[in-house]
């Protein structure tokens, strides 16, 4: 019975997946981002990984079956970094269906003792980069693709 059901699911997938859907995942070389990439990859999505860690990005990319591309950039470097990533995405996959804004960093310092640099860095990566990447990728996102 299990075999029958599985083959049915595969058939359904084949019917539904006429065209490959593409996802861009920031922080895609480890943690939640990598898990999302692995899951979508397993489901036949073309995945495009963005990470600031070159070696880990290479390792993560190598483990994907449907890699659409990978781009190493530190998204904490403002709009220019986001734009360079968006250009790489456009070159590799054209239109995308899903943008997973996952990259983030963590600092432990209490707010009243935090160094300006650490605070700005936290905001740059965890907040600013997501906005910049969202609007830099905006014209690449398919309508009624679910996400931004």
């Amino acid at each position: 019975l299990k075999i029958v059901i599985l083959s049915r699911i595969v058939d359904l997938e084949a019917e539904l997946q006429v065209t490959t859907r593409h996802a861009v995942i920031t922080g895609g070389s480890r943690g939640i981002g990598l898990a999302v990439a692995v899951e979508l990859d397993w489901r036949g999505w073309g995945v495009f990984l963005i990470s600031q860690h070159r070696e880990r990005l290479a390792a993560a990319s190598a483990s994907m079956k449907h890699l659409a591309g990978a781009f190493a950039v530190d998204l904490g470097n403002g709009e220019d970094a986001a734009r360079s990533a968006a250009v790489a995405v456009r070159g590799a996959v054209g239109a995308i269906d899903l943008l997973v804004l996952n990259a983030g960093i963590f600092v432990e310092e209490p707010l009243i003792a935090i160094q300006e640099e650490a605070f700005r860095r936290t905001m740059a990566v965890n907040l600013d980069a997501n906005l910049f990447l969202a609007y830099c990728c905006r014209c690449s996102v398919k309508e009624s693709g679910r996400e931004s």
Partner: protein, 219 residues
């Protein structure tokens, strides 16, 4: 999809600046959703609780029981399969459910759009205690509940919970949840089936039925 954190809903002593950024990110998601609505681009803000990732040092662990990274990955994958009109708000919060972290005050206390349930089918008392007065049953096609669900739903209905139903399949007419009246479930096909069905509805000490949801399995 914007991967936020439960740190976007309360104070976050382990990393206050991280928390500030996640609060702001939640605001960004809310406004972005409005702006992109016209373009039919959905924006979803996910708030996973503590997750076992490299972000935590080797000797440290996130406070409370931690989610696996795959939990959030599965939610993201599931989101991509939902219909366009599905409104999504997920909190994946293993910590909040068990009340092990000081800065949150129990399941569902601060966000009435989503809630962590302690059992598969909590009692109506539990629902009321979380100020849940209405339940929407989402099924593929039928609005009326399947027979095995109607036992629990009927109890809720008798206790005063309003039951609504919606069909998810794209070719059905029902686009909005409709009020439904749960009827008495049909008689069991035979005594053995009835016995097995009742055994499947094991009362739980917390109230309601079913087993405890696993800790690391997400909210």
């Amino acid at each position: 999809v914007i991967v936020g954190s439960t740190a976007a809903y309360g104070a976050y002593p382990p990393g206050p600046a991280y928390g500030v950024a996640k609060w702001a990110l939640r605001g960004l998601a809310v406004d972005l959703r409005q702006e992109l609505k016209a373009d039919r681009i959905g924006v979803t803000f996910l708030a996973p609780g503590g997750t076992l990732t490299d972000m935590w040092d080797q000797d440290e662990a996130p406070p409370g029981p931690a989610l696996a990274t795959q939990d959030t990955a599965l939610i993201v994958a599931a989101l991509t399969e939902l219909s366009e009109q599905a409104l999504v708000a997920f909190l994946l919060d293993a910590n909040r459910r068990t009340g092990q972290i000081g800065f949150v005050s129990g399941p569902g206390a601060f966000d009435n759009r989503s809630i962590s349930l302690p059992t598969d089918f909590p009692s109506s008392n539990f629902l009321f205690s979380r100020r849940i007065r209405r339940v929407v049953l989402a099924q593929q096609r039928a609005i009326q509940p399947e027979a095995d669900l109607s036992h629990t739903l009927l109890r809720w209905q008798r206790a005063g919970v309003s039951i609504m139903g919606i069909a998810l399949a794209p070719d059905t007419d029902v686009r909005l949840p409709q009020r439904i009246t749960v009827g008495r479930p049909p008689l069991f096909r035979n005594a053995w089936y009835g016995l097995m069905a009742r055994m499947g509805l094991r009362p739980h000490p917390l109230g309601g039925f079913g087993g405890l949801l696993p800790h690391s399995g997400g909210g």
